[in-house]
């Protein structure tokens, strides 16, 4: 990878570029059997996979940020030992997405957004802070990813892209399971007051999911099946699946963990209603 690292002392640093051209060469799938796409459709597919490339790459630092958070919380070594695997998975996914970009005729180069550190939530005890991060990353983001990718995978005909998406899906399932499993380990250690605060935090965590996901789910009202075969999903359907996953899976799961997730989601949903109407 050729990355231009930012010099913090520079007054007006150039955007940092993620350049995965070399990695893409090694990961390039054979997409010659894809149905014909128009130029515009091909560009949509390229943008989709390039966006995934960036998001997968930067999510490695999110998993890395869970190491200090969980370590401060006294998480068991077996749980901590799973984090490097998740980091490596996300970096590999970025390379795989870059390979698809290249195979579609695109250039796997994109600007990186600013990388924020994973919060330690120092206003609360380390254990409580770690639970917040686990919920946001594993129980929300990764669980939503499992749902969305499973639907995308089910729409694909057998072929290299289905194989690739299947591999990514398996990893995301593993990441989400890690989140829920570790939450199950840590929740019994939270007292009633901490659980109440965590329930309140869920409002922010749900709202954050909406702000992160929904604006990036464009509606393709008449998505041709051919474009679907290139791994582009219908944003409108993805939006509904996003909501269904929260309401039917995540809220019940967090409730089962002892949190007031239903009330939190109701509050977050009311707060973010405008996001869906954009």
């Amino acid at each position: 990878m050729h990355t231009t690292y930012e010099d913090a002392s520079a007054p007006a640093a150039a955007p940092i570029l993620l350049d995965l051209r070399r990695e893409a060469q090694a990961r390039r799938p054979d997409l010659s059997a894809l149905p014909p796409l128009s130029d515009a459709e091909r560009q949509v597919a390229v943008r989709t996979w390039r966006g995934r490339m960036v998001n997968e790459h930067i999510s490695a630092q999110v998993w890395a940020g869970l190491v200090p958070s969980l370590m401060r919380a006294g998480a068991p070594p077996a749980a901590l030992a799973e984090l490097p695997t998740a980091i490596a998975d996300e970096l590999r996914h970025a390379e795989q997405c870059a390979g698809v970009v290249l195979a579609l005729g695109g250039v796997p180069v994109a600007p990186l957004p600013a990388l924020e550190p994973v919060p330690l939530h120092e206003e609360v005890a380390p254990l409580e802070g770690a639970v917040r991060n686990l919920i946001s990353v594993g129980c929300m983001s990764e669980t939503i990813a499992v749902s969305i990718i499973r639907a995308e995978h089910a729409e694909l005909d057998d072929g290299p892209l289905a194989t690739l998406l299947g591999e990514i899906l398996a990893d995301e399932v593993s990441h989400a399971r890690f989140g829920w499993r570790t939450l199950g380990l840590l929740m019994p250690r939270l007292d009633a007051a901490a659980r109440a605060r965590t329930s309140r935090y869920l409002v922010d965590a749900f709202a954050h999911q909406v702000h992160h996901e929904v604006p990036r789910l464009p509606r393709f009202d008449a998505l041709r099946p051919e474009l679907g075969q290139a791994g582009v999903c219908d944003g409108g359907f993805a939006r509904s699946l996003f909501l269904d996953t929260i309401q039917s899976v995540i809220v019940p799961g967090l409730t089962q963990a002892g949190l007031d997730a239903q009330a939190a989601w109701a509050e977050a949903e009311a707060e973010t209603r405008h996001v869906f109407q954009r």
Binding site: A12, P15, L17, D19, R47, T48, G51, R52, V54, N55, S59, V62, H93, V107, V109, A110, P111, E123, I135, V137, C139, S141, T143, A145, V146, S147, R150, A151, E155, I168, L169, V173, H175, R181, G184, L185, P188, R200, D204, H208, R216, P218, R219, D221, C233, G235, G236, A238, R239, S240, L243, D244, V249, P252, G253, T255, Q256, A257, F276, R278
Partner: protein, 134 residues
């Protein structure tokens, strides 16, 4: 492969539900066991029937907004991307103020967190709490 939306939804939520079971596998205890059906998907979408209509949610229809033109540098040949981005940053900073949110949107596009396509898979950085907690 032609597959109904209802079946897609069913498969997706089933997969998501399966990961939640990892929690109950280690929490144990009567309370959790008694309530472990709460994560089971209730499919009200009509099973495997063909369903080309949007699912019944509160999501309002919106038109496609392609903001990729704002982040147009990524569409250039690779050797031109760096110089394009640098020029674009100068322009955006001058117009909106260096480092401002508007400048970032000008540079990356209003939806930018990496994706102008469908779904951002990678988990974002968890939010800080915005609420005063006691």
């Amino acid at each position: 492969m032609s597959i109904s939306r209802a079946l897609l939804r069913h498969k997706a939520l089933l997969a998501a539900s399966s990961v939640v079971l990892a929690m109950t596998a280690c929490v144990g205890g009567d309370e959790q066991k008694a309530d472990d059906t709460s994560a089971v998907v209730i499919d009200t979408s009509g099973g495997d029937s063909e369903d080309s209509q949007p699912l019944d949610t509160e999501v309002k229809d919106t038109s496609v907004v392609d903001t990729s033109a704002q982040a147009g540098c990524v569409g250039l040949p690779a050797e031109e991307v760096q110089s394009c981005c640098e020029a674009l940053k100068v322009t955006c900073d001058a117009e909106h103020g260096e480092g401002s949110e508007a400048a970032m949107e000008c540079l990356y596009g209003e939806d930018f967190s990496g994706s102008t396509g469908c779904v951002p898979w990678g988990p974002p950085v968890p939010p800080r709490s915005r609420r005063a907690l006691v």
